[in-house]
């Protein structure tokens, strides 16, 4: 009996510790990492996610189906929204890097993180994906990555019932990876939620939420660009931009 109990406890410990991957903590951007002595810096974006409506909290299968159905109009609309303002961000980043004296190269291709191999020599502040092949391909010393993980809208649920109005939602990261060590020279998670001004339920074009979407995109761009421009930590006066852990 004791043996079975011990085995069960060990199994639980292994499973729980395996799930509890420590999230990468923010790392301030040292300005010399993007200056004239930083070498050649590539600027890339990861493959953009499909615009969608996130429905956290609708946890059971029927809850999920019901919430998906209830927000179908919004999701359909989300998929019509453009993300040109985000894709043009690489050029803006490169412009600011060049203003600081860096040799910036805009990488046209979208980096598919899922296709990159894991990095063997893991450790604190080391990227989990191996970017060194990208470094070799473009002959760069550092790679500045704008990663968008989720884009569109979010509406929280408690089982079948919405606990919030839908809001515009953007979840991403900005980071700078040293191509020699695969270590982060900068890491900034950005999560933006922005509510509609007034009513949100305006199908089929949802103008209030559409406006909030464009606001969220701009807030995220400002948040990511401020350290690159050397303006320090942004004071999210435009809306709610914060670390992912704080989101409801």
């Amino acid at each position: 009996m004791n043996c079975r109990l011990s085995l069960a406890l060990v199994t639980i410990a292994v499973v729980v510790s395996g799930c509890a991957t420590k999230p990468q903590q923010p790392i301030s951007l040292a300005q010399d990492a993007i200056g004239s002595k930083s070498g050649r810096v590539g600027v890339a974006m990861t493959t953009l996610p499909k615009l969608d409506t996130q429905i956290p909290g609708a946890s059971c299968l029927v809850c999920l189906a019901t919430a998906t159905l209830a927000n179908a109009d919004l999701t359909t609309h989300a998929q019509t929204l453009p993300h040109d303002d985000l894709t043009s961000m690489k050029e803006t980043v490169a412009k600011h890097l060049r203003a600081k004296g860096a040799d910036a190269l805009v990488i046209d291709e979208y980096i598919d993180l899922d296709a990159l191999p894991s990095f063997d020599g893991g450790g604190e502040n080391i990227a989990k994906k191996d970017f060194t092949a990208v470094g070799k391909k473009y002959n760069i010393n550092r790679l500045l990555v704008i990663e968008m993980k989720a884009l569109g809208f979010i509406r929280t649920y408690s089982a079948y019932i919405p606990t919030s109005d839908p809001k515009a939602y953007l979840n991403g990261n900005g980071y700078l990876v040293d191509m020699k060590t695969n270590a982060y020279d900068w890491y900034l998670p950005v999560v933006v939620t922005k509510s509609a001004d007034g009513k949100w339920d305006e199908p089929p074009t949802f103008p209030g939420l559409t406006n909030a979407y464009f606001q969220a995109v701009e807030i995220a761009k400002d948040t990511l660009l401020k350290p690159i421009k050397g303006e320090g930590v942004p004071t999210a006066t435009l809306g709610r931009a914060q670390s992912p852990s704080a989101i409801q």
């Binding site: 929280t156 649920y157 089982a159 464009f214």
Partner: protein, 313 residues
């Protein structure tokens, strides 16, 4: 699974979907009830207009609130469900409780934002719509000769204007915002054919280091005057909109940045006009906004038309 169980499961899903979609449908119906149809009218030919007074009451002011953090989280829910009917009742009750909780949370957020107005209460509680409209009507620059008429009076053959203005003060107390729901009804035209729109005007941010003392000087004369000036500007915008000045055209929608007090805000909009470090924009909802922009954002030529009446703000 038996056929009966399958039918019951589908019935349950359909009922749940219907329950949630009915929320959605009600909201849509509600929205449709307040939506407005823009019926073009030629106000240029009208030389007189009458502004109908609302029932006499203090002017409505609020503090600018943000609802970006509104929401009740994602806590799970176990429904005590003795059968399908019990489950549906449980879900319905959960929905009602959640709706009430969400509304209470928003009310609390608004009440917190309204605290910025506490020092202004003694002054604003005595500021009525009659006084506001009397101040505003003389400041409107377009629309011809204007007069105030009582709530139940006839417009007497002139163009009838009805207005529901609501004001907000930014949390830094640097700017006032008016949201004015305007209806313009030509003589001989039914009220259902009136031109209706919502116009927001945001004052340029004040420069005073003590905005409260600034606004409240002389028994709040400045906040009253500025409110009236913003309202008059919203009437001018409404009249120009009816006369299609500036031409609405097909300007592309773009992301516009403007100031709300000292806070930079963003709107996806068509830019209709630029003048005096201000933009006139049309929002995605089709509403009009007159907003101040940062000095560097617009190459504005300062001329006499750009000097505000409040002067040293």
């Amino acid at each position: 699974m038996t056929q009966g169980q399958v039918v019951m499961r589908f019935t349950l899903i359909a009922a749940l979907a219907g329950l949630l979609l009915s929320h959605h449908s009600l909201a849509v119906a509600d929205e449709a009830a307040v939506s407005v149809e823009a019926t073009p009218v030629d106000l240029q030919t009208q030389s007189r207009w009458s502004l109908r007074l609302p029932p006499d009451a203090p002017v409505t002011y609020h503090g600018v609130a943000s609802f970006d953090e509104a929401g009740m989280g994602t806590a799970g829910m176990l429904y005590p469900a003795p059968g399908v009917a019990g489950l549906l009742v449980g879900i319905f009750a959960h929905g009602v409780v959640m709706d009430v909780a969400k509304q209470k949370q928003k009310d609390r957020m608004q009440a917190t934002a309204d605290q910025v107005l506490e020092p202004y209460k003694p002054c604003l509680d005595k500021f009525t719509y009659r006084e506001l409209l009397q101040k505003a009507i003389g400041r409107a620059k377009v629309g011809g000769e204007a007069r105030l008429i009582e709530v139940d009076a006839d417009a007497g053959g002139s163009t009838l204007v009805e207005s529901v203005p609501v004001f907000r003060l930014t949390q830094d107390q640097k700017a006032i915002i008016v949201d004015n729901l305007v209806a313009i009804q030509l003589p001989g035209v039914g009220s259902d054919a009136a031109y209706r729109t919502s116009i927001r005007v945001i004052s340029s941010p004040g420069q005073s280091t003590d905005p409260q003392a600034f606004w409240l000087a002389n028994d709040g004369q400045r906040i009253k005057d500025e409110s009236a000036r913003l309202l008059a500007e919203s009437f001018d915008i409404a009249f120009n909109e009816v006369a299609k000045v500036p031409a609405t055209g097909s300007a592309p929608y773009r992301t516009v940045r403007y100031l709300e007090g000292t806070v930079e805000k963003i709107e996806r909009a068509q830019v209709l006009a630029e003048q005096c470090e201000r933009l006139l924009i049309r929002t995605l909802r089709g509403n009009l906004m007159s907003v101040p922009v940062a000095r560097s954002a617009v190459d504005a030529t300062v001329d006499s038309r750009c000097i505000t009446e409040v002067g040293s703000r």
